[in-house]
């Protein structure tokens, strides 16, 4: 018995080779763990991002590498009234759609947070517009907005509210409001369900205490719900603004930017210039022009996150 123990003792200490050290070295291991993700993100994200900025300074065409032309693309865009129209469209689309999405989403979240029968099913049903691929629901909207056979026009006519069919996607402002409505329709579930998740962490005892102290419904919302929800609102709205600003699918399916460029967003406009007309450099310049707006949105998100940690009494990590 003792012999076995001795033998074992003898075998244990052996030289710690450099390989052993390397095997347990955190940084060395981490390289291998990070490698797959890093390869993808560098090859297909970081490199194209840099390449896009470079392309915007060249006169590249589809299938032909360009030469450096300085700020020529930007100067051209600066003079281009269509570009400014798309900037206007994008800002209008983003502000109106995000504001209404936030208002309706918050309202829907508050409603769903009430005591309701079949709450889980209701919540699941509300999310469906968000699950269904955007393109496919955009096609459904295209059909709903049909100039001749639109069911909306038909119903309004039967109710004697209008006398002729509404030309939803053919008229400049009608088209703008129609695509904004479709965007809101798709975005509300996301805002509502994420805000609902935030609402569910607010303890009802706070409302009870406030009610006993004589607070009105509005006061309870303003001084309990809203402050507790602020951090999550900041993040949700950042995402919402980000994805609305860079929207492509809805517009492309429903109007392709028409009528007379009235619904072109910067993303669809850059697709048209770069891929359809072949002016890669110019298209890249339009995409690059979107970056400052995105940075602003990211900064808001960042400070939203910081504030949340501070509110919970945690240190920032």
């Amino acid at each position: 018995m003792a012999e076995i123990a001795l033998n074992r003792l003898k075998t244990i200490p052996r030289d710690v080779t450099a390989w052993d050290r390397l095997k347990t070295n955190k940084n060395w291991l981490a390289i291998w763990f990070m490698l797959p993700a890093a390869v993808f993100l560098i090859l297909f994200l970081a490199y194209p991002l840099g390449l896009g900025i470079w392309l915007s300074f060249t006169d590249a065409r589809l299938g032909r590498a360009g030469i450096f032309v300085g700020f020529e693309n930007y100067e051209f865009l600066w003079e281009d009234s269509t570009f400014w129209l798309t900037v206007f469209n994008t800002i209008l689309y983003t502000t109106v759609a995000s504001t209404i999405k936030f208002a309706v989403g918050l309202y829907l979240a508050l409603l769903l947070n009430e005591r309701l029968p079949f709450k889980a099913i209701l919540r699941a049903v509300v999310l469906i517009p968000f699950i269904v691929p955007t393109v496919l629901s955009a096609i459904a909207f295209w059909w709903l907005y049909d100039p001749q056979f639109s069911i909306i026009s038909w119903s309004l006519r039967k109710m004697h509210l209008i006398s002729t069919n509404i030309d939803f996607l053919g008229d400049v402002w009608n088209a703008r409001w129609s695509v904004i409505f479709a965007n809101i329709w798709r975005g509300v579930p996301f805002v509502a369900i994420t805000l609902l998740a935030g609402l569910q962490t607010v303890s009802p005892s706070l409302y009870e205490a406030a009610t006993i102290d004589g607070a009105t419904t509005w006061q309870r919302f303003r001084y309990i719900t809203y402050p507790l929800l602020t951090p999550i609102i900041a993040v949700v709205m950042t995402f919402s603004v980000l994805f609305t600003f860079t929207d492509f699918q809805l517009i492309w399916v429903m109007t392709r930017g028409g009528p007379v460029n009235a619904t072109h967003l910067m993303a669809t406009f850059s697709y048209q210039r770069a891929i359809m007309s072949g002016y890669l450099g110019e298209g890249a310049a339009i995409s690059t022009a979107m970056i400052p707006f995105l940075l602003a949105a990211i900064l808001v998100s960042w400070f939203g996150l910081q504030r949340r940690k501070w509110q919970q009494g945690e240190s920032n990590d």
């Binding site: 309202y107 309701l116 691929p133 393109v135 492509f248 699918q249």
Partner: protein, 309 residues
Amino acid sequence: MTDALAGKAADPKAVLTGSVPLTDESEGTSYLQSLPRRLVTLYLPLSIILFVLLFPFYWMALTSIKPDNQLLDLDTYSPFWTWNPTLKHIDKLLFHTDYPIWLWNTMLVAVCATIISIIASVLAAYAIVRLRYKGAQWVGGAIFLAYLVPPSILFIPLSTVVFQYGLFDTPFALILTYPTILIPFSTWLLMGYFKTIPFELEECALMDGASRWQILVKIVLPLAVPGLISAFIFCFTLCWNEFIYALTFISSTQYKTVPVAIVTALVDGDIYRWGSLMAGALIGSLPLVILYAFFVEHYVSAMTGAVKE
């Protein structure tokens, strides 16, 4: 703190079993409201919003089974219902177009891209959260930033990159570019899940001589299964949904995915196209809706988890 105590006091059974729910399920002050009041302030607005949210789907489904003559004649027949449904549009779609091929392409691309992304994200998330190498925090931040880079500013340079790598107009163009959207998201999500797994488990395993790889496969992953399911479902949905890359990188009809093919190949000048278009949209959404129906909770937690972390 007082809330937690109050919750425990209110529910002694939960204290005994040691499981106090995180969300407070008590009734609150809602019993103070009368039924008529609830009808006006709650049920009425809720049903209006639900009607608006669901009507396009009803319309989509109805259009795909209506006979052509009823589709365009709104006055003779009631447009909101049909008594003689037809499978003509669905039949035309499935047997006279390339729709099954597009469906298969979408499925193939979505599954491959999702699997690649999940593997890469599991490794990256574990390294960031648990190996805590030099600069791990910065990498974590960079991944979050990568999540915020939208495809619509990347597709132009990516199209030249895809062309350079010789991937243009092959399914690989999509399988290899979709992970750039998915990896940041799922890494971020999995980081949150891995953080909740106690350190002590790993320390025990390390003392017993397990390697990092064994710890990941035998301890961390089994405990993170809900997180993995969430990440998988969300990634799959994002792939299925993706449009702009598929539109730009694929030009031949046999490689197209459903969203792109419906818009580019199925839309023709035919005035009776609506039936099969709507059937295409409906069938294209079904796999996601079915998946969603089975995993609602995972889906919601993926969505809210990504926002909360």
